[in-house]
Symmetry: C2
Subunit: 113 residues, 2 copies
DNA sequence: TCAAATACATAATATTCTTATGTATCTTTG
DNA sequence: CAAAGATACATAAGAATATTATGTATTTGA
């Protein structure tokens, strides 16, 4: 199963931040592969979604970047800034809370109010 | 806490379908209030999001409607069609699965691959 | 009586994704 | 050794789905 695309909406930024928190330093393509691997292909981040998201995180000062040459090809590493680390905790907590709320909503068997 | 707005994206349709599955017959305003109540004000569905969603469900044949007059004011009830019931199960299962995957992603402590 | 709540709806705008396209290098395999 | 596939970046057009604003109207409660 691959999830219908709308589910990812609103969670991509949090996923990226969390991966950076766990892995210190990652580059874009690596992030797509890591997510694909960890989710057994259920979540496949497209490049058209990822790169703009990474650029937005950089503009917001949540990550810093450093480019490295691997042969002749450039590779752009992203690292969380101190503010990025705080933001990650907030976003992860919020998403965890949201999922608990959703779990409750989806399990309710109440027939009347 | 009220969740940042992007989290709701992609889950609204599922929430509405699930509520209709549990309560047989509901009208729009009632749905907004029920969600607000069940989530302790954490999720507040806006009318601009809800009504187009309900209309889309109707166009897709997932719900049927019947209007009723309460005094001089109209109230439009929504009920799941047979296809809507099937669709609800699919969507709820998919979202539950997605949340498990996200839970795993957010909990991982792996430092390297 | 007048504000707040109930009840519907739509339009303009914003956000955030998909899909398509572009460029270029590196690696594997027949 | 050529060609396909993987690696690696990026942006633009379009779609989907929400917010915010606006509109209409009735009912309720302080």
């Amino acid at each position: 199963m691959i999830y219908s695309s709308e589910l990812l909406k609103g969670t991509l930024k949090t996923i990226v931040l969390k991966l950076l928190a766990d892995n210190k330093k990652m580059y874009g393509y690596e992030i797509t592969q890591k997510v694909k691997e960890l989710t057994l292909d259920k979540i496949q981040i497209t490049e058209g979604a990822l790169y703009p998201t990474l650029h937005a995180l950089e503009n917001d000062g949540l990550v810093t970047t450093e480019s490295e040459f691997i042969g002749k090809r450039v590779r752009k590493y992203y690292t969380l800034s101190p503010r990025g680390k705080l933001k990650t905790k907030e976003k992860v907590n919020e998403l965890a809370d949201f999922m608990n709320t959703m779990k409750f909503l989806l399990d309710i068997k109440t027939k009347t109010s």
